[in-house]
């Protein structure tokens, strides 16, 4: 078996002077080898499952200027993505005299709560999230916010990506300057 042969050949029985060559066992302790084997297995199993890439479905609307979708003011929330992973949002429509009150700044960590609160407080038929990405926002931001929509179980068709207007761009620029975001 896999133990070492420790019983030495009983040399003393044959009297002094007669030396018998020690019989060495050829068996090796395999425990460390088994350990190594399983360690490698666990390593490979973990690394292979980690690096699997997934695919996210995207459905783009048809650009059709004749079909304008009307969104209720009470159900709309506009999410704006800016520089440095910043998120801005406002509800309904921007009104010139209430800009600073309406336009809020947040981060990706906190936006989920805002989305969920809005979803809970609005009739599902009226609900609409309008996502606008700034030219300084990154690809990750765009995907993250779409991912946030699926995390919050916003049904497809209740969020859309729209181009940013000049007023919004200016607002973001001003907020960024005020907050010192580079």
């Amino acid at each position: 078996m896999a133990e070492m042969d420790t019983s030495s050949g009983g040399g003393h029985k044959k009297g002094p002077g007669v030396k018998k060559a020690k019989k060495l066992s050829t068996r090796v302790d395999l425990t460390p080898m088994v350990d190594l084997g399983f360690l490698l297995i666990t390593f490979f199993v973990f690394t292979t499952t980690m690096s699997q890439s997934t695919a996210m479905n995207m459905n783009e609307p048809k650009d059709d200027s004749t079909q304008v979708m009307k969104v209720k003011n009470s159900g709309a929330m506009t999410i704006l993505l800016g520089k440095g992973d910043q998120v801005y949002y406002y509800f309904g429509q921007l009104e010139a005299d209430r800009l600073s009150e309406q336009f809020k700044s947040t981060t990706f960590k906190q936006i989920r709560e805002v989305i969920v609160t809005k979803k809970k407080g609005t009739k599902i038929d009226d609900l609409m999230y309008i996502i606008k990405s700034d030219k300084n926002s990154t690809f990750r931001n765009a995907i993250d916010i779409l991912d946030e929509m699926s995390i919050c179980n916003v049904p497809p068709g209740h969020y859309a990506e729209v181009d940013m207007t000049a007023t919004e761009e200016l607002l973001i620029q001003k907020t960024e300057e005020a907050n010192g975001i580079k």
């Binding site: 896999a2 399983f38 490698l40 297995i41 995207m58 989920r112 926002s137 690809f139 995907i143 991912d147």
Partner: protein, 216 residues
């Protein structure tokens, strides 16, 4: 009464069998896992909760950190057709030999106008030195590429094409570049495509976690 002597048994067991099993499993896993295709372009895709695995056979558009766009035509059966289609459509004047050589290139990363001169070069330019496919508002060659792709796949199962169209973008790539690619898709009446992401577990307590979508 004779004394009964209980033989002392050794507690060590033979490890050979266990060792065999361990290495058998190890070799199985190593051989069974498919190696990732060598990535010439280093791109770290964003995370998403999507659980669908990305298909292997795909038309992959890679958007690098610098905003360069590369195209990989993974469907070998249609690759030659797409290349000859764009050759004819854009008048690239490539000979059959040149087309053949182009077909062997793993990805496309030069403007259409430079393809002929690139193919005549002996030394291959490393991927990070390539200019990428021009994809800005004035000159969006992705539109031409997507036109060729849709032409070649016309008449085949469109759902299959939708599953194959992938965009793999780097986290730090800027949004406008992504928008241009989407525009190129839209111009060719492609409205469904997929984004390559890294899988992520659904956050505990979120709406999706509490009400997971029904498997269909």
């Amino acid at each position: 009464m004779p004394k009964v002597k209980i033989p002392r048994k050794s507690t060590t067991i033979d490890m050979t069998a266990m060792c065999d099993v361990a290495f058998l499993l190890l070799s199985f896993f190593i051989l069974a896992t498919k190696q990732k295709p060598p990535e010439v372009l280093a791109v770290t895709p964003p995370n998403s909760v999507s659980a669908k695995a990305a298909p292997e056979k795909s038309i992959l558009i890679t958007l690098t950190k610098e905003g360069k766009v590369f195209l990989m035509l993974g469907d070998e059966t249609k690759k030659a057709d797409i290349l000859s289609n764009i050759n004819a459509a854009k008048g690239l004047n490539l000979s059959a030999g040149e087309l053949n050589k182009w077909n062997k290139a793993p990805f496309i990363g030069v403007p259409l106008g430079q393809i002929k001169s690139m193919l005549s070069k002996e030394v291959e330019i490393p991927a990070n030195k390539l200019p990428g496919i021009p994809c800005d508002s004035s000159n969006n060659e992705m539109i031409d590429w997507m036109k060729s792709v849709t032409n070649v796949y016309a008449g085949t199962d469109q759902r299959q094409l939708q599953e194959m169209l992938l965009i793999k973008g780097d986290n730090a790539a800027l949004y406008p570049a992504f928008k241009r690619i989407k525009e190129a898709f839209k111009k060719n009446e492609i409205f469904k495509f997929r984004i390559v992401t890294n899988g992520e577990t659904v956050p505990v307590g979120s709406e999706l976690y509490l009400n997971p979508p029904k498997a269909n």
